[in-house]
Symmetry: D3
Subunit: 339 residues, 6 copies
């Protein structure tokens, strides 16, 4: 089995227990996660041979992050060690009308400080047929954007598929910066994921009017944006996107669109009681990639990816702890028994 390599930052996630706020808590639940790490772990749990590339400090926090991923079956042998620290994000889950709030403390992390010449691409991409990263990695530093450039170039030269989750983070860069960087990467990419404001912020193509309570009715606008992506970058054969109506922290409807070589498919709509919204985009990416590698296309493909994504909404922690069988069970069965 050939390998998928994902590249990005994994952080310590600190979350107050049971809906407490940061200012009142006396303990934090500790998890380790990050967009591309989540994708690697989910791929491994779905049955893929997945490796993760990052740089971790040589201390117990770095060890714990590595052990977590290795436990779920991720190949961690390509991870670099050293540098100053492990990044952190504080995750304060919202409830009802109180929105979830995240405090990032990731500046100066070992991965963010890594330099392009630390990455030996021929060795790191050996045996790899798919390379996956998100806009977060590109946003970390100009050095990291350079490293991605080198990696994408190597991939194109060696027939390795590149998957990009655009994953815009307004706390890390501006749309102008994001678009400038993305323009240098997109010509190498085959599969693109973009949701909500990602289209406009990272691709400069408006799909979403910003009203998250009625995303699903904007399906035509999303489709147009997806087609525009393929028009601009004919190398991108697949575009996937989640659409949501978010009524409160807990209560939302989710569907998804897939554009494959000009053909649009739409997933069913799931009505959801959300436990934890973090990582559902990563679960979508892993699900889409796994289903593609299993040979699915069109509606089954997008339904699989969406089922993986919404199952993540029921999981504590960044990583989608669901198996291929569980994703398929949800695809084949709308309701859910309570025993």
């Amino acid at each position: 089995m050939t390998k998928v390599l994902t590249m990005g930052e994994i952080m310590l996630r600190l979350k107050p227990p049971v809906n407490e706020r940061i200012i009142q808590t006396t303990s934090f639940e500790a998890n380790y996660g990050g967009a591309e790490a989540n994708v690697a772990a989910s791929l491994a749990l779905l049955g893929e041979d997945a490796a993760f590339l990052t740089k971790l400090p040589s201390n117990p926090l770095g060890d714990a992050a590595l052990y977590t991923l290795r436990g779920y079956g991720v190949d961690t042998t390509r991870i670099l060690r050293g540098g100053p620290r492990l990044g952190i994000y504080y995750f304060e889950k919202g409830a009802s009308v109180r929105t979830t709030s995240v405090v990032y403390d990731r500046a100066g992390s070992s991965f963010a400080e890594a330099q392009p010449d630390e990455f030996d691409w021929p060795m790191l991409l050996d045996d790899v047929d798919t390379f996956y990263f998100s806009g977060i990695t590109a946003a970390l530093s100009p050095a990291m954007a350079s490293a991605l450039q080198a990696a994408c170039g190597y991939c194109e030269a060696h027939g390795i598929t590149v998957v990009l989750d655009t994953n815009y983070r307004g706390k890390m860069w501006t749309p102008a910066q994001a678009q400038a960087t993305m323009k240098t990467l997109l010509p190498h990419v085959s599969v693109v994921l973009a949701h909500d404001e990602d289209f406009e912020a990272t691709l400069g193509i408006k799909a979403f009017d910003g009203d998250e309570t009625r995303g699903i009715e904007q399906v035509a606008s999303f489709e147009a944006a997806m087609r525009e992506v393929q028009r601009r970058y004919p190398n991108i054969h697949t575009v996937g996107s989640i659409l949501r109506d978010i009524r409160s922290v807990e209560d939302s409807d989710w569907t998804a669109l897939l554009l494959q070589d000009g053909t649009l498919s739409r997933a069913v709509t799931h009505h959801l009681h959300v436990m934890e919204g973090v990582g559902s985009g990563d679960a979508f990416g892993a699900g889409l990639l796994h289903a593609m590698r299993q040979g699915l296309t069109g509606e089954p493909l997008i339904n699989y990816a969406l089922a993986a994504s919404v199952l993540k909404l029921t999981i504590q922690g960044d990583i989608n702890l669901n198996t291929d069988a569980e994703v398929k069970a949800l695809m084949n069965h709308a309701g859910a028994m309570n025993r």
Copy 2:
């Protein structure tokens, strides 16, 4: 006050805290429960003189199971001690579209290995006017089915009412096996509880088409099945059944039907936010039995049983920790104050 005796297996229930999955948890909440044990404990809390019959290992796990029931007021003096182990079930609560998952580890338990001649029915049924068991006990082993045979025979000969919750478990036996065993027991039974697939699997009478998102609209089919039960077994004067629309792990509507000597009554419908689905059938059985012993019939009877059942959906642990006053309060009041 005469006594109700329930007979069955009580297990250690291990549940990951706060919606964690088994593969990620570092601790389990420990409860002790099982269908007939739950019924006995609920009866005691509702005010009945209830005894429980099982066999428990002579170790601290067996002690803890016994102490739990005794604490809630169950007469535990008829419990046998000895044998190899206490059965376990791992309870992984689902959320939203992720279904609840149970791993049974009950093979080789002290109760499952018990032999018919260990049960001294004249002594065990002394002072008892009602004997309650479920299909789970019958499914445990041929020896246990024999023991139940002996008990039912003794009951019939001594005017002790027999109550059967059909409680089909597809992981324990096949419909063919269940029906064969039930046929030998049903002639001794006066009260039968059956829900969902129980009718078809244990009685061979189809009531439910398997679509749990729309059980309530199948009321006519349930009624027909209930009438057919009484037609076949005129000794069964009372049949009770729960009907549900289950939209997700948390979100469902519940109603219930009662057939008493040919007269059908229907309970009100409750809209519910389910905390824990386990044990609601047992709570229904205990509620029905207690209300019958209080002299209720018809609509009040089935409304009481259903109120007891849906209150269980708000409780952590197998046992329905609600009192007679609390069940009545729900019967008399639809809404619920949040202070």
Copy 3:
């Protein structure tokens, strides 16, 4: 900045974790709260200079209550120390159709036993421009009602605004007792809060028919009652009231009315998934007071107060841990993102 002084009892609140019932729990979460303490803490977090007046025992429980308030920024220098004990309330949160249940254990507390002559009003009300208390304080004892009488008299004489949350507690006194006491206090009051049965029980003016599942449709009756309050006590220039449709412990809609010098304003309606109902009236009072002091009137004023109130429903513990910025964010934005 001049100061708001609130006066009342702060108690140790003991709550079983994660929806357990009192009879099954092996631990209690400990918080410190009480109507007027909650108001003071919320005011401090919203940016006001707020002081709290009570009497606390000279033991670690009294210390802990004081430290909690001081931590959130409340001026605790006017608190008296001594007396027998800290009052307690056991808070058993309901779920779905099981109602929340509270066991009070507050008799004989240091504050309830305090005598009028322990309160040196000129010193205690120095620098204060607003004095806030609720009907709970008045209900504690005839001595406490006398103390409030003295305080209100001093306020009126010195131009200090008096705010009264009528806050009827049927476990503490009867409507007749409440109305008799209130009649002596209301002539000194400028701002009155009353919800649900408060109008009838404490003011003798019927606003609400008792059906909490349909409070919002009774808006006309509430308006009439509010106008009647101003008619009887022209000194009361502002009346605020919350109206709710409560469908279950978790599920409800909330709106609010404001009558200011004869002009009625109505807030938007929030649909809510309630985490904890306690203290939402106190959060409303603090929000209303803060917004008034910021110069808001009419719809913005009542929308601010309601937003503060419903945000409290998402918080663990008695105190509304939301800032002015967070209240405003909810006012300006209906939905809520889950990341």
Copy 4:
């Protein structure tokens, strides 16, 4: 089997977890205990038929206290229900040089407020051959002392053995008050337990010089005091006493003396690492009583009682959760394996 009845107050015990102090904790571990309740529960776990007499409020706290004892096998059918509240004690465990600290909040409890005429002694003492209480019960109120007078009189008249643990509590009464009350009870007593300052405070006989770091070397003085007890009250055939060298919260040596009809026996000395000091006197009383009922005398008797007592020092919660087999194992084996 005839029955032992113990009489006293059972309280909710609230303890901060893991050595936290009250002023910093955000939760309390909840147990239910009290001197005589602990004795009843330990007796039941050792195999005796033990009943407990108290008065509990008709609320979930009272229920929980009752369920706890019933779970461990105590006959709770003689418990009265009603009255204002359940008493509480806050237990802040010390460590090393920081002493353990207890805050009592027991005033006004249902039991403390109970009146002598609520106790129907012929019914309560039916089937009982031994009546056990401690000085704490006598100290609660003059009414309770009267009730004990009546009980002791009934016992003497009906051949029921009375056991008294003198158990002096300086926070409840003075030595003068204690001695005055004790003088009225001691003529009815057959077995007396007294430790440390109990001799002087409750009996007016000095045994201990107050230096708890060197109690064991004062053995001669303890023996003299024990003999003086028997000299003054020839009806007291048995006196038991624990002697300790307490070097820190964790580190101490324990031994014990027994005077039976003039013959002194001394137990071995145990070197201990104390987990929780509460309830070791109660465990001693239960151990002594059980061993006497088993027919032990002299050294085996006092060694059994002491082994029971020091095993309690390894247990969380007020009740000595050790069985007869475990006590005997310690008697017969000095060391302790760590696997």
Copy 5:
């Protein structure tokens, strides 16, 4: 780097939190461990390439056990899947004079039920230079003893070193059974570990008089037994043994002896405050093996093994979470700073 393969059963370990007893606990801490699994994990953390061989059920419990080991770096690719269940052991930690108590619930586990022909030795031992197992594996079933026979034969034929930790368990077999089985395995073994009663029970050579409070003074007797082992089995070039004075659950002294080709070495003595005694023998085995592979002999070798062993006594869970650097730091430094 060549590989070490260890073979045995890994179980779910359930432990009440913070010194609670099983009969009182409401939760269990969950770990996964077992003698040979612990050795493999410790070897991996010390820097070896270690693989573990067992059979795990195809359910989430089996997954969790596998993920745990894989996380710590164990090669889990040779683990068989299938069979009925994961074995359990309940671990009730003692304190002071209360001994630790273990309830095994391992009968019928997937590994215990595995048959010799499920083990394809040429494949399983490929790339392996050391094979490690303990007497526990041999005791599981005659089938497992046969499997070990086959493995040992294959090892001898292919120059793979066999290491045996005799690890006698009186709850699994008798000395006679143990010795009969061991006689068939010992001729293939090169390294033997034996402690305490292991010598007599599994080898029929008395070393220890059974008094665990004074094991260290029996050093001469241990030495004689170790020499006798080498005399009987000249193929055994190395024998290692721990000697202890155990004064209580927490308080003990540990030393160790090593006999290598006739030369005896003795380790320093550590005075210890034990947190958890489980797995210290496994930590010793892993330490000894790793140090041997690093080329250590004599005193440094046995000091390394003992340091690894006693560090385990400070760790929660079965697995010795200490690195090579930490073991060496203890070897080189007696004391321990508290910051």
Copy 6:
């Protein structure tokens, strides 16, 4: 009452629960502490008017740190807000022979990045009579050393006493750097605290040979070093120092020396079972300062300071949660009762 101002960094402290290691934990206990913050909080709890000066980020972590100190009574009104982040330290408590391990993650914190011109000394030192800082603050950055220079100069010019805890941290700077900086500060200082390697590393005066298992026998060398400090800096009228024999993480003896204007006093020796070693130096500093302000000198002074210090060893979290009465109780009483 005049005020003490302490200045330094407060961090989030993350500690795995119950002796877990960082690599295995799934949660961290959260406290907020740092040398000078601990001193301020302890002073406040001892009864002083204490203020703390630092810079905290404008986010919930900064709020929580501030609220914690304010809760314990520290004047937090002089704290600056802004900058990038709150520093963190991970605290992995050791046990027995496993040493405690700390991972610092404090680079780039708001306080470490603060510039000298942000500190308006006339305003910050208004009403202050004592200024306290430790070597940690000086080590943070050259800018911070400059700020301290300015503060010390201002203090000297305005008669404000300067207290310095030398507090050497080898992870922050070298002895050469420390000594160079200290030389510029010491001429302004009146009271110096130095323990263990502090003398040599920060003052260039050898007192301690590095063997922490036998610090107390080096009393003569410590005395000589203390006298040398006063010889070099006659402005330093008081030098305090702790001496320890540390046998393991839990087990140690502590004493202390005080040199006041040439007169040496020695404290009693405490034998301790340490729960948590962090912050005992800060507790010593606060104790010394409070006792000096109470007018104590000589032996009572150093005994008070040491009693405060060793009481901290029994407390969870960085802050010494003991009152003046509790410190005095330990001074007056060697042993400790376990009830």
